[in-house]
Subunit: 350 residues, 2 copies
């Protein structure tokens, strides 16, 4: 009896469907003949669905998605400035709602400069770190509001909510990663300004560090961290940080490792209470949608993270290796989205 994995697939908007098609191609190829079968359910969600039905993510959608073992997501979000989307917030109403409802408290974002990939740095060094971004707290909680809205007397507040419970669980995950990776953990925050939230992060990292005497721990303010990401990214092993700082640092990290066309991520619920969700770091890029010019590598590497999360390490490594080889073999000539997917699939089958 082979294992069955129920996979929810959310292609989304813009280039989402194009890159997901290639990610599925790779997933199919790597599991072809293996002792595991992926049973896929496709969910039509995103700006397109909203424009059609007015729904962003219904309770039924959420319940249906939650009944799966894992989720593969492309990208969601319509054309910026589209007046029909003025009152919709696809990001908050769909993407963040999934992350929060499914308790994806670890947002895992590896940053590797693969041989052959070229970023903007003259001397990038050996970049191979992972950002463990908290996914369910901080300034992302949506606890904001405004009064006298739209007037010259408007006041708008946004509250960052941080809990010891929430920080400890993600910090423990990060230390476990650091044990396997360079034995080095860097906390990034802004403790000198956000003294309450920052102080708690610092305290909890110091406490958990006691249990990991082999892991070297340091601390950087978020502003200083951006400097090191461009002057010495090789210094990092694991970065653990809050939701907003993690958002910023991982886009920058993606850029220095060859562009967000290569950056994969997992929104993980390590407890297994809810399905984890894997997605490229990039957005839906509606301006280039449908042209077959998006790089599907980030989506394909997200499949590798998905396989690893499901315990299918061999398959994960095969996907990563094939993508790596493809990156290394690039000579700058243009390929369509499908051609990149086909090339990686061919390497997998070879």
């Amino acid at each position: 009896m082979s294992r069955v994995v129920k996979l929810a697939v959310i292609p989304g908007d813009g280039i989402g469907p194009e890159v997901v098609a290639e990610a599925e191609k790779v997933l199919d190829a790597v599991t072809d003949g293996a002792d595991v079968a992926f049973e896929k359910t496709r969910f039509s969600l995103g700006a397109a669905r909203y424009l059609e039905t007015g729904d962003t993510l219904t309770d039924e959608d959420l319940a249906a998605i939650a009944s799966h073992d894992a989720i593969l997501l492309g990208a969601v979000g319509g054309m910026p400035g589209d007046p029909r989307l003025k009152d919709a917030n696809i990001e908050r109403g769909l993407l963040l709602k999934l992350r929060f409802a499914l308790d994806h408290y670890v947002n895992l974002r590896p940053s590797v400069l693969y041989p052959g990939a070229s970023g903007p740095l003259a001397d990038p060094g050996d970049i191979d770190f992972v950002v463990v971004r908290e996914g369910t707290e901080g300034p992302y909680v949506g606890n904001g509001g405004s009064i006298r809205t739209g007037t010259p007397h408007e006041i708008a507040n946004e509250t960052s909510v941080n809990t010891a419970f929430g920080i400890e669980r993600v910090v423990r995950f990060a230390f476990a990663q650091a044990e396997k990776r360079r034995q080095k953990l860097t906390l990034v925050h802004k403790t000198n300004v956000l003294v309450h939230a920052g102080g708690m992060w610092k305290r909890i990292v110091d406490e958990v560090a006691q249990e990991y005497p082999g892991v070297a721990v340091d601390y950087l303010h978020v502003d200083a961290a951006t400097i090191f990401l461009v002057t010495n990214p090789g210094r990092f092993g694991v970065i653990v940080t809050d939701n907003l700082f993690g958002d910023i640092l991982t886009d920058l990290a993606g850029a220095v490792t060859g562009g967000i066309g290569l950056a994969a991520s997992g929104n993980i619920n390590p407890d297994g209470a809810f399905p984890s969700m894997f997605e490229p770091v990039h957005g839906s890029a509606p301006d280039i949608a449908g042209q077959q010019i998006a790089d599907p590598t980030a989506a394909i590497l997200s499949v590798a993270l998905l396989l690893e999360h499901l315990g299918l390490s061999d398959e994960a490594q095969r996907v990563t290796r094939a993508a790596r080889e493809d990156i290394e073999a690039r000579d700058g000539s243009a390929r369509t989205t499908a051609q990149v997917g086909d090339a990686i699939t061919a390497r997998l089958r070879a």
Copy 2:
């Protein structure tokens, strides 16, 4: 009768006194024989003062500083982890207290890649933009707190406070800058997540933009902005952004333009109700203090911003030109802090 400018000088901690000494040298040289005299008062403030007296910034200090026409600051902050500073927050209690009490609502940070300066980017292009960072609101207001502090049930909140009044005045300043510089203004925020604060920023920028039809306006999420800062920094003219995003972006911008040893800043009260304060973007770097290896150029370029602010444009331009020439002439050989100051002073007098 020559004009007298009352200048408060706060050398501060670490490398602060070393770089301020060179900045003063340059200020003295450029005003030598001019129709303006600087009357300086020196304030001993910072970690060293705190350790001696327990005071960070007394009401008397603040009143005395406020009675000056302008302020030159080096850097403040003790050795990180110094147990004697455990209960002090020199940054909040001194630097931020000055910025807030003196209503420095514009934190002006030019980013220029000077000929001869080398940053980490392989192909930086023509970098010449200025960040107008809001200085008195946002997550910096200090409206945070925690309950059950130090326990596994701790909750720590940080509130970002944003007002239409506060945003409009800094946005107006930014548009006026954009008129003089590339006719291009980019708002950076995170409107898709921080919908209330971000929405207000967006609305006010759109409103003020009506009055500046010649200025091209665009918007970037903060995460995307970090990507452009390393892949295409030449695209920017004026960036206007909130206190925290501005903090992060200006350190990164400093790095890409040759390091924060060159990055100057002004904390400005454009209304003139309070003295404005000029300081290098870098910190006190206690690890290299007293070794005469810090680059005083950022402090010297901060003097140029100070002169410009005081309406002494000729003097400001002479300082900038001398610093520029010095940067261009660098050949990588080591110079002491004083040697750099002397070299720039010599160019000024030439």
